[in-house]
Amino acid sequence: MRRLGFALAACLVLSGCVSTRQFADVEFSPPQGSYKLLVLRPDISVGSVTTGGLVEPRADWTDQARTQVIAALRQQQAGRGGDATIMDKRSGLGGVDAETVAELERLHYAVGSSIVLHRYNGAYLPTKRRQGLDWTLGQDAVDFGRKTGFDYVLFMHAEDSFASDGRVALQILGIAGCFVGFCAPNVGGGGQLAYASLVDLRTGDVVWFNVVQAGSQVAGIKMGDMRTADGAAQLVDRLLGRMKPGRNVRERAGKAK
């Protein structure tokens, strides 16, 4: 699936360390027990950063990382009791045609962009204050779940690059570009950028959203290399392993103690 330019750019400012920032629906409980998860067209890419600061895609690195990340994702989900199906194409899903999948992806792209703009990039909406993550894909997502038999759909993007030096000016221009319909690539000095968005197909709601940014050029902090099994597991753990329940769920749990 397509990456969300806003998320990438906003997080570059924070580069130099690992940062994850997640939001959840107030009633969100991380999936547990036996559930069926669909991972829709995960977008995983690895490139090398040239001296000019461009990310050059590397086919072999991308293939390695893709294999590793998907394996790590399956393992991690299985540990929670989840049965994960990874879909690489829009076609081939029983019960729905490719165009239905495409429409859901397109709506999610608009919803995901809204979450990034209004949750991560500072354009806070007053009506959503203290509402947790409050966005939905609506009835179309519910119908999709009913027809396909999945409980959740996960949208994810991960990219990694191995680099020389970071250039602040470029980063700022890259961010500006995102607002005019053009997104610069990962112009930091390399590093990981990933996000995941979890939709509960019983309600259609986007119940959980997380963005991970890891800069790789700061001394003393060792970043995972997602081309390796360990690095991929680390990425999946950062991205999906530390799901926090929603506020209401936490508060109820606190009172019960």
Partner: protein, 405 residues
């Protein structure tokens, strides 16, 4: 992107960057020197090329699944046939997609798929002109321009990438439509790297002419396309009260459309062989486009770029005026809305309804213009005619009310 992207001409962000390394004026590239660098069934070879291909395969997946494409099997087949004729040794490997974007443009990607914008189909007068643009794009692929351009860019310093980034930002801001295709694919920088420097464009022109003539098309059609582009840019500027030349002042080292047109004429004369006949396949083109042309013209006129639209209408009217073109002439004036334009629009609609093929919309607008001039009786007759022709039109309830009042 293509040499004939009018947005990039007008705004020139990337043009300025390209000029940095394009050098000054140089001799014309000769068609006979342009041998294809790849053969049939070509696949990526080097490491960087493989990475580019993998990325572009994902771009193609996005593009092919996009709802911005015009899904018309007949047209798609027609375009595929053309690339099959002018694609040289890679003819069978190339794919072509038609996007509903009212811009004068086409893009060839490094893996051999091309995206043709619908605005291009509107402007071409015959199949040879369209084939010329497609041949030019094919030449980019056959000469490995994307890879060469990418390697060239990669060699640049940090200063360069800074400039490229700024230009990319400017490029994103120039045209909503092109920008959106960039956003669709989400590989903006990679796409911006597909804009070529002057040498590569000159190569594609020279080779395109040759591919065109080899396929039996009139090679002169490419310079005609440029002539039309120049005419359109000039009229567009004139209708907004400015000079086109102003737009070139920023990067005067960049070749002017006029010099490319001149080179294309020389090259076309060179590749023609005595005794061989070259055709423009005009009738076939008109027949294939007949179904979609009203939509294409509508998309253009509604952008309210009156000079460009008027140029397009007049170009089409070289084959004779009809109710449909007269109607759009009225639309152009109505949308421009300057002093006296409404009167011109009224005249356009009045002229349109004299033709038997005037669209229903012409009668509706004719009625509105009459009503605004107090000619109520005639207005009602026009509205009645509109409702007869389009009883279920979305605005029929409103027009019925106008009729009743």
């Amino acid at each position: 992107m293509s040499p004939i992207d009018r947005r990039s001409f007008l705004h020139g962000g990337l043009g300025a960057v390209a000029a940095l390394y394009a050098g000054s004026a140089q001799a014309r590239v000769l068609p006979r020197d342009m041998a294809p660098l790849i053969g049939p069934g070509y696949r990526a070879q080097d490491e960087d090329e493989k990475g580019l291909w993998q990325l572009m395969e994902r771009v193609e997946e996005e593009v092919s699944g996009s709802n911005l494409l015009i899904r018309d099997d007949r047209l798609t087949t027609y375009l595929g046939d053309i690339i099959g004729r002018v694609g040289g040794p890679a003819a069978k490997d190339m794919r072509i997609y038609l996007a509903r974007i009212p811009e004068f443009n086409a893009v060839m990607f490094p893996t051999g798929f091309a995206v043709v914008f619908s605005g291009l189909l509107l402007r071409m007068r015959n199949e040879a002109q369209l084939a010329g643009v497609i041949a030019h794009e094919s030449a980019h692929f056959l000469r490995k321009h994307q890879l060469r351009g990418w390697r060239d860019t990669r060699r640049k310093t940090d200063i360069f990438s800074f400039l490229a980034m700024g230009a990319g930002v400017a490029g994103g801001a120039t045209g909503v439509y092109a920008g959106d295709l960039v956003r669709l694919a989400q590989f903006g920088t990679i796409l911006s790297l597909l804009r070529y420097n002057r040498t590569l464009e000159a190569e594609a022109d020279a080779m395109g002419v040759r591919l065109l003539a080899d396929a039996g098309y009139d090679p002169m059609s490419m310079s005609e396309t440029w002539e039309q582009l120049i005419g359109e840019l000039n009229l567009s500027a004139k209708y907004r009260g400015k000079h086109r030349e102003r737009d070139f002042a920023l990067f005067s080292t960049h070749p002017s459309p006029e010099s490319r047109m001149a080179d294309l004429k020389l090259s076309a004369a060179e590749v023609r062989q005595p005794g061989k006949s070259y055709r423009d396949f005009r009738d076939r083109y008109l027949a294939e486009l007949a179904g979609i042309r009203p939509q294409l013209l509508d998309d253009q006129v509604k952008l309210n770029d009156p000079g460009a639209s008027q140029y397009v209408v007049e170009t089409l009217a070289r084959d004779g005026w009809n109710g449909f073109l007269r109607f759009h002439e009225g639309e152009i004036w109505r949308l421009r809305g300057k002093k006296g334009d409404e009167e011109r629009a009224a005249q356009g609609y009045a002229a349109a309804v004299f033709y038997a093929d005037a669209p229903a919309d012409a009668w509706r607008w004719h009625g509105i213009m009459l009503q605004k001039r107090g000619r109520t009786g005639e207005a009602k007759a026009a509205f009645t005619r509109y409702l007869q022709m389009a009883p279920n039109a979305p605005d029929a309830p409103f027009v019925r009310q106008m009729l009743a009042s």
